[in-house]
Subunit: 166 residues, 3 copies
């Protein structure tokens, strides 16, 4: 199993940039993913880089939005060992079986037993807004855009909106 | 007490959308809320949907920003049982009475005894940036925009800015 | 040592604002910081206010993006006592020495022993998107934009992009 972290490579460096101006362009896509496990970390970066490059926006922002309450989006490295640590710290902070009221049929009509999924997603966040420059997302060398499936397996949708100057 | 989660209903579905272009419009409002309890979760979604619909922006983003350090904004479901679980996990992660230095008059001139409030807000986040399409915020069926009062009761202000193409 | 929290003062109040329109301007800068300690909280607010004021953007948003995976950006107060509490809660939630796989040479090629840094940054977040009005960031009186060095000392870069109407 790989011990390495995936490297992000932009075509051009992302430093300071003189002001640019123009009409606003807004372009949206969706990413759909079928997850396989209850807790699963998926690297969205390559898909996102392709969407931004194809959007026509050169300078602006990109919003990556999970359409779900138990599926999170956040930045970190893509490495097998680190992802095992992420799953471990999520269980430490929010135990799966801790008599949550959301899982109690006397108090909740949700029968998925996924209180932990909601609480973990709350801590990780459901969206990211990244910068776009030179037609690509701004990401540091080791930064990857990760999705955390917290109540899988199931079908997940993220809406990606790029906004800026063409 | 209701066992259900509140459903979010947009007037039109929020999927992929062909690129749109136009002049940038920026519109801002404030939401003011008087909270009643020390820890209280409030569903802002209906207020926010009305503000975005009234803004004149069709495609773009909306920023919801808490003007405070002990009042958070985040996405999750609006359900009584889940909200009890959220309050429980906040107390587990950040105990109210744990001899925090921020509560110690020898180290801090704040007399509100609200160190826990600051730390919990730090974990939940103070703002959200959502997408706007078809003149409405993009939210999944079960997603609600929630405010967490963490040091109430008091008066709270959130600034809502919509930005995009009219 | 100071018991006070730093106050944020805008030149004009940040309330509701009638819709403004115009061409989109995008301006980017970088902030570079040499940190001195392993865990260190740095107040970026003054630097950020100067960058936004100098950007030429009057109404819009500013994105503050850490280019790293072990350096976070978040909102809270700038007070010595509170910052000691933040460091304490980070150690409570994510222990530095807990046999993380990311620190295990049999599983990971990273030799920085910084699994805790990655996990803490994941919980705090790596970026903020704030509103801009009247040519300044929108911040409440007690809100400061804080950077958390979690694996220092080292050189850190944040990219700041201002986007909106001139």
């Amino acid at each position: 199993m790989s011990k390495s972290s995936t490297v992000t490579v932009r075509e051009t460096p992302a430093g300071a940039a003189a002001a640019k101006t123009g009409a606003l362009v807004v372009h949206a896509d969706t990413i759909t993913i079928e997850t396989d496990e209850r807790i699963q970390l998926i690297d969205l970066t390559d898909r996102l880089m392709a969407l931004v490059r194809g959007s026509g926006v050169r300078e602006g922002i990109v919003s990556v939005w999970s359409m779900h309450t138990t599926c999170a989006v956040f930045i970190n490295e893509a490495q097998v060992a680190l992802h095992a640590d992420i799953k471990r710290v999520l269980e430490q902070m929010v135990a799966r079986d801790a008599e949550w009221l959301h899982n109690d049929p006397d108090h909740s009509d949700c029968d998925r037993m996924n209180a932990d999924s909601h609480l973990r997603a709350m801590l990780l966040g459901h969206s990211l807004t990244a910068q776009v420059t030179g037609g690509e997302p701004v990401l540091g060398q080791w930064q990857r855009i990760l999705m955390a499936e917290l109540d899988g397996p199931r079908a997940r949708t993220l809406r990606v909106q790029v906004m800026g100057i063409a």
